[in-house]
Amino acid sequence: MHPGRQLAVLGGIFVVLYLLVFFAGGASGSFTDRLHPKLGLDLVGGTQATYIASVQGGQVPSKESMEQARNIIENRVNALGVSEAEVVVQGDRNIVVSLAGKADDQLKDLSQAAQMRFRLLIGTTGDVSATALNPPSAAPSGSAAPSAGASAPAPTGSAPAVNATPSAGGQGGGEVMKAPTPTPTPTPSASAEAPASAAELATREEVQKKVGAAQWAAAEKLTAPVDLTSNPEAGKQFANFAKLSGTEVAALTAQMQFNVPTISCKQLDDRPNGAIDDVNTDAAVCYQSAKVLLDKAKVVGDDISKASPQLDQQTGQWVVSLDFTGAGSTKWAALTRQAFEATSSDPCYVAAQSLYGSVEHCAVAVVLDKSVISAPQIQGVLTGTSQITGQFNATSAKQLADQLNFGAIPVTFNSGPAQTVSATLGIQQLQAGLLAAAIGMGLVAIYAFFYYRLLGSVIFMSLILSGLLTFGALVFLGRTMGFTLTLAGIAGFIVSLGVAADSFVIYFERLKDEIHEGRSPRSAVPRAWARARRTIISANAITILAAVVLYIVSVGAVQGFAFALGLSTVLDLLVVFLFRHPIMTMFASTKAFLSPRVSGLGRVLRRAQTDPKEA
């Protein structure tokens, strides 16, 4: 290629890069604002969030589970982009996450336990807490008996409008077997529950005192949600339950939470994280502003082998696709069979019908931590890949998939307030780093000028060019990929500039060889280039290989380093091919090149000329 054309390509790359820096990827602010790379936690400080593990049953989580939680949170932070976050366990129950810059939003969902549960929907009732407390008829009634015999919970006025039935995708089908009799019934009885922990029982006793013995007894007797349509005053006798906090509500059995009409959706939502994680108990939860009762969890997040976000081609909606483990898919098939083959008298059928209107099969709720993501009607016995639908966008679908892939955090956390933290190193260190860069570059330049004379200026110019390209790439990638530049990163780039100068030395020493062998500078340049190119490509290929492998395999700071290494090597190759070589070609055709004083080739030239006399 003509040297001029190569330089033009380089110029094009340069212009495009800086156009991107100034106008693309969410560039905003003044001219200088757009030129700021994203600096790391150590240089500019950032945001810090503390997650406090909830103590369950008076027990502090074990060291191992805290370390496991730390790893999962770290993976989640790193999945946000190439940022160098710091995640440490502090004391015995805190996890502190620090991120560079202002990052409150990103820190919000990190500690979500991501306990996924698949539970059969077995009961539904409206959130009637308001009407239960203030019945439309003003006359108070003190002695309404609980309507124990109420049949199916009828959707009341405040029940959700029935939406289009969501469906579970995936390969349905499979042979139809005799439906096993569905076990779950909405019959509440405290003894059917898994034994509650001592701490839970203690809270339950306190709650019992708070609501009063009479109300407690009445609530315990309920076997189905109170039917307020037949007796609008029936809610009154549970008035005290409306005053309970989320934690106190959580201490009640799922049946009580579900049946007592005065317990509102808000109270259920206020329950602490992890309140309905127990796989062996039923769970009451709010879905589409109705209260629903869910069966024991038959399938859990650990049964999922791989989750990935997908865009459903037909509906244009984001879904999360799930693959189950061997054991998981057996359990999943059993659960979906139970839902699919339920008859119209099954409680789950009744519940699904009251939630969705007309249904043919039962629904399985996909529960993540405290909330139901979706509760699709099961259209077949699902054995393989299945999809979760819900109100996902690209980000939330990826987030859920990441959370499922990295596993559930074994500890439940409550997040403390986000705080700002200052830089540990600060501006002096940054300045010192830049000073070191200047000194290093200065030394290289002096050495190059001393050794290669005017050709040193080619090294010097290409160093400046590498620097500018690297800087532009850093600014742009910082904005679009969250690539964060720490002090170590800056030092890495300084070093890489030195290594980049190496490739020039290889080229130039080759050139000396060629001239020494008696070639004219003009013919020596292309020959030296052809040979040096081979060496330079081999050597850089190894570095790029190192960068790619480390980037794919490693995590955290090492990954950030690998990215920087790869970036600087690619830029080095760019400068070598599109700048040094064409410049040298052009240089070789000038007279100055031959002058010993100018090119630094003088001694070699002289030697090449004197050699024959020796012979």
Partner: protein, 401 residues
């Protein structure tokens, strides 16, 4: 030639240092270094930083009892004084200011190496006295490693995968013997660098580990440069009988010596700048950690690419039957020349006859390469073997124009 100094000969790539011939010495030195390093791993182990080992975190309020607001530097210094009064060997990190998003009443946290509860208590007491801060507002906490075991595991896995892939690449690009020599030189570099860290007791921080990984690419870079030249010089060497493989390799090493020194210097200058600023002006921290490990590793990389990689290569090559036979033939021929049986063909052409006697084999007159011998295996040289060079390449005679 002899009248010129070493620098000048280096410049021209004619230092003629006998590196390969002394390979036994280098192997012994390398073995000793590896033994020393491994021994040190076992006995001294590594001095791990807080990021790896975890430690104690102190929290100090920004407001003192007499209403003053502390600066970050004050807090940092005071904690360091307090901790070192308790445990002189403790490492103390820099202070970090923590404040609510609202911005009311911040505090400083400082991380230090792990200490016992009593030590932490003593340090807290000293701190309260020193800074005059309310004692109940000063707290200490154990902190875990920020650099989890997972990061190290994955980095090591990456290292292993890289070594396998680069081995494959080198086998394809060169040959398996060169690949083995290059990888063993890299491993030697890594082991000895780690050994120096262990032996001297430099602190290992995440920056150190990252610097360590940088050596990976750099060390191989040097070896590739040397081997590229060796490969060029020895292409088709068995066709001729003037020079053994080892001699050709030694020549390549000499020819690349200046290049190695140059590339080494050019790469080490910025690292030296980092080290100078990091250690000299700032005392400690990221810049020093990174500068130090790179300086040691890159320096050794340059050295080993010459002193170890090439000798290992020749040692392996000398075992190859083809090369072995060729070496024997060259030596036999040399003995014959000495006894006058065979007239050395190219003798009369003298030093300037930079000409090959065949396409590939070097035709240097003397039995062994002399100081100042140039690479001669040129592909498009004249095929006749006639001195004077009527080939398609400018030769000594018609160089001047």
């Amino acid at each position: 030639m002899a009248r010129e100094g070493l620098a000048s000969r280096l410049y021209a790539g004619e230092a003629n240092v006998n590196v390969i011939g002394k390979r036994k010495i280098w192997f012994i030195v390398a073995a000793a270094l590896v033994l020393l390093s491994v021994g040190s791993f076992a006995i001294n182990q590594f001095h791990l930083g807080i990021e790896f080992a975890g430690g104690t975190s102190f929290s100090v309020p920004a407001k003192t009892t007499d209403g003053r607001t502390l600066t970050q530097a004050e807090a940092s210094d005071a904690v360091e004084r307090a901790i070192q009064s308790v445990d002189p060997n403790a490492e103390v990190g820099a202070a970090q200011e923590v404040s609510g998003i609202g911005g009311n009443g911040g505090s400083f946290t400082v991380r230090a190496s792990a200490m016992t509860a009593q030590q932490a208590e003593a340090a807290k007491t000293a701190l309260v006295e020193d800074l005059k801060v309310p004692s109940e507002a000063v707290s200490d906490d154990q902190v875990s490693a920020a650099w989890g075991g997972q990061v190290t595991r994955q980095a090591l896995l990456g290292l292993v995968i890289f070594l396998v892939l680069v081995m494959v690449y080198l086998v394809v690009r060169f040959e398996w013997r060169m690949a083995v020599a290059a990888i063993s030189s890299l491993l030697l570099d890594l082991i000895v660098t780690a050994g120096i860290y262990s032996l001297v007791g430099f602190e290992v921080t995440p920056s150190t580990v990252i610097g360590f990984l940088t050596i990976l690419g750099y060390s191989l870079y040097d070896v590739v440069v040397v081997f590229d030249k060796v490969q060029e010089n020895t292409r088709g060497i068995t066709a001729g009988s003037t020079r053994t493989y080892s001699e050709a390799a030694n020549l390549a090493v000499n020819q690349t010596l200046m290049r190695s020194i140059n590339t080494g210097l050019v790469a080490l200058l910025p690292v030296g700048g980092l080290l100078f600023i990091g250690a000299g002006l700032l005392g400690a921290g990221t810049l020093k950690d990174l500068g130090l490990v790179l300086f040691v590793g890159m320096g050794l990389g340059v050295l080993f690419s010459i002193m170890f990689a090439a000798p290992v290569l020749t040692a392996l090559k000398d075992r190859e039957p083809r090369i072995k036979a060729h070496t024997a033939r060259v030596l036999a021929r040399r003995a014959a020349i000495r006894s006058g049986d065979v007239a050395p063909r190219a003798e009369r052409s003298g030093r300037n006859a930079n000409v090959t006697e065949s396409d590939e084999a070097p035709a240097l007159a003397s039995a062994a390469p002399r100081p100042g011998s140039r690479p001669t295996a040129k592909r498009n040289t004249n095929r006749s073997g006639r001195p004077g060079g009527a080939g398609n390449r400018p030769s000594g005679g018609n160089k001047r124009r």
